[in-house]
């Protein structure tokens, strides 16, 4: 692979990056080629020891995605970061995607419970209307309030838990790309 081929391929693979980052990265490799040629190496040799642009690009993109998910918290950024990390190797399919899908499923389940509790008063009203005698009125009123309160607390707790898990999972991704990078 010549310098031109190497740079073109890397450029193409990194097209998702903002121009500033992409050009910065390409400049680093250009500098590397120029110094190498200056010291009497062939472009071919230099490209060979740099490694495949495909593997390099995966690594660069994973780093970028994780950084994005850190500075701009959202589910879609986190999903991108997870997928980019998974692309680094089969190992991560099990150790990154597995826990991620599991955590999301548990959180969805718990949020569903919170929602059900919050909606219980409406259910009670639809089922019993406003009962005739005072005892039953109190029963419906207070059981409705109790479950609404529980649901509210659960939802708030879950929102905090989700934020905490988000940060922890990013730390794990960071650790993961640091220790088990590439093939």
């Amino acid at each position: 692979m010549t310098r031109r081929e190497f740079m073109d391929e890397l450029d193409r693979l990194l097209r998702e990056l903002p121009d500033k980052d992409r050009l910065d990265i390409l400049a680093d490799y250009t500098e590397h080629f120029l110094i190498g040629v200056d010291r009497g190496k062939s472009e071919q040799e230099i490209a060979d020891s740099l490694g495949s642009p495909r593997v390099l690009a995966r690594e660069i993109l994973a780093g970028y995605r994780i950084h994005q998910a850190q500075s701009n918290a959202s589910i879609s950024n986190m999903t991108r970061a997870v997928l980019a990390t998974v692309s680094l190797g089969f190992f991560n399919l099990v150790f990154v995607l597995g826990p991620f899908v599991g955590l999301i499923a548990v959180l969805i389940g718990l949020f569903a419970v919170a929602l059900a509790l919050l909606l219980t008063p409406i259910g009670l009203f639809l089922k019993y209307g406003i009962p005739g005698n005072a005892d039953e009125q109190y029963l419906v009123l207070f059981s409705g309030m109790a479950s609404f309160g529980l649901g509210g607390m659960l939802a708030i707790g879950l929102a905090r838990l989700s934020r905490w898990l988000y940060r922890q999972f990013l730390r794990y991704l960071n650790f993961n790309v640091r220790m088990i990078r590439g093939k």
Binding site: I25, Y29, S49, V55, L56, I60, H67, R178, R181, G182
Partner: protein, 106 residues
């Protein structure tokens, strides 16, 4: 040597080399690949990450021959991080060495 193992060690080597003096990418790659075989291109994403995390700052400097070079300099934060890693590494290798000595006496 196992590749996965080397990736973690690469970070430590880069930090220590830059702690010694400011260095440019090609120089770092050359000093490391002299000692063990790496996909040299992976050093650059690593340098980038260490820079975004505030462990390095970079500056461009002209050279007598060839293009201007991007130099990496260790920050205080980077130095603390490096010291932690070196300590971890020492403890780790001491443990491994002891196991080897006790096991097969080498």
């Amino acid at each position: 040597m196992n590749v996965q193992f080397k990736k973690g060690v690469l970070e430590l080597c880069v930090l220590v080399l830059v702690a010694q003096k400011d260095r440019y990418g090609y120089e770092l790659v050359a000093s490391i690949s002299e000692k063990f075989h790496i996909a040299e291109g992976t050093v650059y994403p690593l340098l980038r990450r260490l820079t975004t995390e505030g462990f390095f700052i970079t500056y461009l400097a002209e050279s007598q021959e060839g293009p201007p070079r991007k130099y990496y300099q260790l920050t205080d934060k980077g130095r603390r991080y490096m010291n932690d890693l070196v300590l971890e590494w020492k403890i780790f290798t001491r443990g491994v060495n002891q196991i080897i000595e006790e096991g097969i006496g080498l």
